[in-house]
C-alpha cells in the first residue's frame, strides 16, 4: 500500500510540496513556472517554443548529456508548455534526488537556448498538426513564424525567476529532504511575492479545425482548491461530463444524438482548474443546434437524484486516485491523471500553483441540492467556444 504524505513547506518562496512515497522506486522533481503576467501573441508563441527548445540542454547538460542523465529511471524527461505555465519533470532512480534537482535547476536557470534549437522548435511548432480533439483542447492560433531567438531568451529571462517558481519533490525521499534540496538551489528573497499570470487562452483559440470536425465547448473560470464550493464544483464537472451516465453523454449523444465525443475536462492553469465541457461531431458548418444543448443540459440537471450524487462521488474519487481512465483532471499533456507517482506529484504541483497543494477531496458532506446548484452555475457562467470544421 502506498503511503502518501503531503507536506507543505513554509509559505515563503520557493514553494515546495513533497509527495513522500517510501516504497516508490523513483524520485520525481518538478518545477512549475508561470508565464509572465501579460503576454502578447508573439510572446505566447515564444512560450511554447521556449518549452520545446529547453530540451536542447543547459550550461551543465549538453543535449546528449541531458538525455542520458534524465532517463536513468526509464522515464523520459518531460517539459510541457501549458498556456500559462511550463512544467519541467525529471525522474531518477531511488537515491537520485540530487541529480534530478540539479537538472531541473540547470534548465530553469541556465538553459542553452541556442539559435539552432530555437529555430528548430519554431519550425516544428509551425508545422505541427494535431487531431481535432487535441486542437480543441490545446492548439492555439499563435504566430510562431514571428518568434526569434532573442524573444525566446527574453521570455525565459523574465519568466524563469525563482520568485515565481514552485516545485514538487516526490517518491522515495525522506520528509523534509526534498524541500531542503530545492531551497538550497533556488534561494529567493522573501520580499518578492510570486507573480500571477493573466492569460486569456480563449482569445487565442484557433478559428477552424484542420479536419471536418466541429467542436463546441463551454469553458468556465478556473476553480481554486481554496474556493468555498470547490468540492461541489468538482462534483458538478463529473456529473455533467464524466462517463456514459453523465449528462453530456445521455443528453448530447444518446437523447439528442448531436455529438459523438463529449467529455468534461479540468484543465490546469496557474489560477486553478478550468472546467471545460467539450463536444465534437463531424463538421457541419451550422452548429446552432449544438449551442441549444446547454438548455437541454440545464433541464437534465433538474432530474438528478440521490443516485446521481452517489455515482458522481464514486467517479470523482476514482478520478482523483487516478484509476478512472476518464478522469477530468489533466495532469499532463499526455492525458488525464493516472495512478502513478508522477501524476500524484502533478496534481499537487498544479494545485500548489493556485495556492493550495495536496488537498484531500471529501465529497461526503455535499448535498444533492449543492451539486445541482454547482452544475447549473458552471453551465450558466461558462463562455462558449465554437470551432467549426474545415467543412
Amino acid at each position: 500500500m502506498t503511503i502518501l504524505a503531503l507536506l507543505l513547506a513554509a509559505s515563503t518562496p520557493p514553494r515546495v510540496t513533497e509527495v513522500v512515497e517510501p516504497k516508490a522506486r523513483t524520485v520525481v522533481v518538478q518545477a512549475y513556472i508561470p508565464a509572465p503576467p501579460q503576454m502578447s501573441d508573439r510572446e505566447a508563441a515564444a512560450w511554447s517554443v521556449l518549452a520545446d527548445a529547453l530540451y536542447d540542454g543547459s550550461e551543465e547538460f549538453s543535449r546528449d548529456r541531458l538525455r542520458d542523465y534524465a532517463t536513468q529511471a526509464g522515464e523520459p524527461l518531460s517539459i510541457e508548455a501549458w498556456p500559462d505555465f511550463i512544467k519541467i519533470q525529471v525522474t531518477e532512480p531511488e537515491g537520485g534526488m540530487t541529480v534530478a534537482a540539479l537538472i531541473v535547476e540547470s534548465l530553469c536557470l541556465r538553459a542553452s537556448l541556442t539559435d539552432e534549437a530555437v529555430q528548430q522548435s519554431v519550425l516544428r511548432l509551425r508545422r505541427r498538426q494535431l487531431a481535432p480533439w487535441s486542437e480543441a483542447l490545446f492548439d492555439l492560433d499563435l504566430p510562431f513564424a514571428k518568434v526569434t531567438t532573442e524573444l525566446v531568451r527574453n521570455v525565459y529571462k523574465n519568466a524563469f525567476v525563482p520568485r515565481s517558481m514552485s516545485f514538487v519533490v516526490g517518491g522515495a525521499i525522506e520528509a523534509g529532504k526534498g524541500e531542503a534540496e530545492i531551497v538550497k538551489r533556488f534561494d529567493v528573497p522573501a520580499e518578492f511575492p510570486p507573480r500571477r499570470t493573466r492569460f486569456d487562452f480563449a482569445a487565442r483559440q484557433r478559428l477552424a479545425h484542420s479536419a471536418n470536425v466541429a467542436t463546441l465547448e463551454w469553458r468556465g473560470a478556473p476553480m481554486k482548491p481554496s474556493d468555498k464550493d470547490y468540492v461541489a464544483k468538482c462534483l458538478g464537472v463529473v456529473a455533467l461530463g464524466v462517463g456514459k451516465e453523465s449528462a453530456l453523454f445521455r443528453v448530447a449523444r444518446e437523447a439528442e444524438g448531436k455529438t459523438y465525443r463529449q467529455e468534461a475536462v479540468l484543465w490546469p492553469t496557474a489560477q486553478g482548474w478550468a472546467p471545460r465541457f467539450l463536444c465534437a461531431r463531424t463538421g457541419e458548418k451550422d452548429t446552432s443546434e449544438l449551442t441549444a444543448l446547454r438548455e437541454a443540459l440545464l433541464r437534465d440537471i433538474e432530474t438528478w437524484d440521490e443516485g446521481t450524487l452517489a455515482r458522481t462521488r464514486a467517479m470523482l474519487s476514482s478520478s482523483r486516485e487516478g484509476w478512472n481512465p476518464l478522469s477530468p483532471f489533466w495532469t499532463s499533456l499526455a492525458g488525464p491523471m493516472r495512478d502513478e507517482l508522477a501524476d500524484r506529484c502533478s496534481l499537487a504541483g498544479i494545485e500548489q500553483l493556485s495556492g493550495t497543494p495536496g488537498i484531500v477531496l471529501d465529497s461526503s458532506a455535499t448535498t444533492l441540492a449543492e451539486l445541482k446548484d454547482a452544475a447549473s452555475s458552471l453551465l450558466e457562467k461558462a463562455g462558449v467556444v465554437l470551432i467549426p470544421g474545415r467543412g
Binding site: M1, T2, D52, Y55, D64, R67, D68, T71, Q72, A73, G74, E75, P76, L77, Q120, S121, L123, R124, R127, R128, Q129, L130, A131, P132, W133, S134, A211, N212, V213, G243, K244, E245, Y260, R261, A280, R281, T282, G283, G307, A310, R311, A314, M315, S317, S318, S319, W323, N324, P325, L326, D339
Partner: protein, 374 residues
Amino acid sequence: MVVSLLLGLLVHQDRPTVKETLPNGASVFVHNISGSGRVSITLAMTACSETAETHGVRHLVEHLLARSVPIDKPLEAMGAVLVAETTRDAVIFQTTVPKQQLANVMGMFGDLAKPAVFTADALSREREVMRQEAALRAWRVGLVSDAWGRLYGPTALDPFGNPDALAKMTPESLATLERQVQAPRGLSLAIVGDLDSDADKVAARARELLSPILPVDTVPPAEMNVQSASAFVGSAEGEAVSVAVDGFTDKVSLATLAAGFGLRAWIAGAEVFFLPSQRAGLVAVVLDSSNGWAHAGANLSGKEALIAQTGLRLLKAWSSETTNSPSALSRLMAVSLPYRPGFNFEVLTEAANGLSRADVQAKVAQFLKAGKGQ
C-alpha cells in the same frame, strides 16, 4: 491432519496464479498483485478473422455488445468505467474495480461473452457512431495503419473497418458473425490485482461463466507475411517510420521497441506506436512534421549508441510496468493466452533484461536508415 492442513495452507499461499484452458477452448488467467485494493478484468475475443466482405465486423460487434449489456451504470456507481477496444488480435473489454466488487463485475463480463440480439435500428445507429469516430481519428493512427499495409500487404486489414462492408450487414448476417467473434476457442478472461479471495476461487467463478459457451466453427486468420522489413509513410501532417516485428516477447521485437523508445526520447514531438500482434506487428515512430525524418537523420547520425542506451532503459521500465500493473498485465494475458496457452508473462521481463545495447543500436540504425531512404 495438521500436516495436511499446513500443506493446504502452503499450497494456498503458493498459488497466486491460475492459468488454464477450458474444455471448450476458452482461457482463464487469475493473478494476485496485492496492495492496491483494486482488480482489473479483461475479456478478449480473438477467434473471428475478417475478410474484405466482413471488414470491421469485430469493431461493430464491440460497439453493439458494449451497448447491449447494462454494465455502465453499475460500473460507474463504483467509480469504474468500461473500456472497449478492437485491435488486430482481439475485441477487448476491460475495467478496473474495487476488489470487493469483483464477483459482481465478473458476472457482467460473462454477459458480454453471450450472444446478444441486435436490431436493425441498433445496427444503423452504431454505424453512424462509427462514422463519427472515424472523423475524429488522429492522423497519426491513419499513418500507422498505412504503414501496416506497406509492411504486410493487402491482408493487413485495419481493425477500424470498412464502412462500405458494414453498410451491407443485416441483423441476421451479423448474428452469425457475432457468434464467431465470441467463439470460446478465442475467448479469454484475465483477472489481475488485489484479490479478496484466493486465485482458485476466482478462477472457479470464471470457469462457471465461460464453460457453458458452446464451440463455434471459425476460420483461422490469414497468415500475414512481411512484404517489407521497414517502411516510410509520409503525409501533410507528419511522417512515420515503421519496422515489422514478429510479436512482443522475442528479442528482436523488444530491441525494435527499445529503439523506438530511444528515438522518442531524442526527437522532439516523436511518438511511438507499438502494435504487437500474435501473428505480426510493428513499431512505428511518428514525427509530427513533414521532413522530420530527414532532419532527425542528420541530427542523430553517430548517436545511435547513446539512443540505444536510453531506449534500453525505457524498455526495461516499460516491461516492469507491463508485468506489475494489473490493467496492463490482465490485458496482455487475455490477448495472449488464446494464441499461446502456455504463455508466461515473466518472459517479457527476462527478454528485456537479456537485451544488449548492440541489439538495440542495430534497430536504431534501421529506423534512421528507413527514415533517410524516404
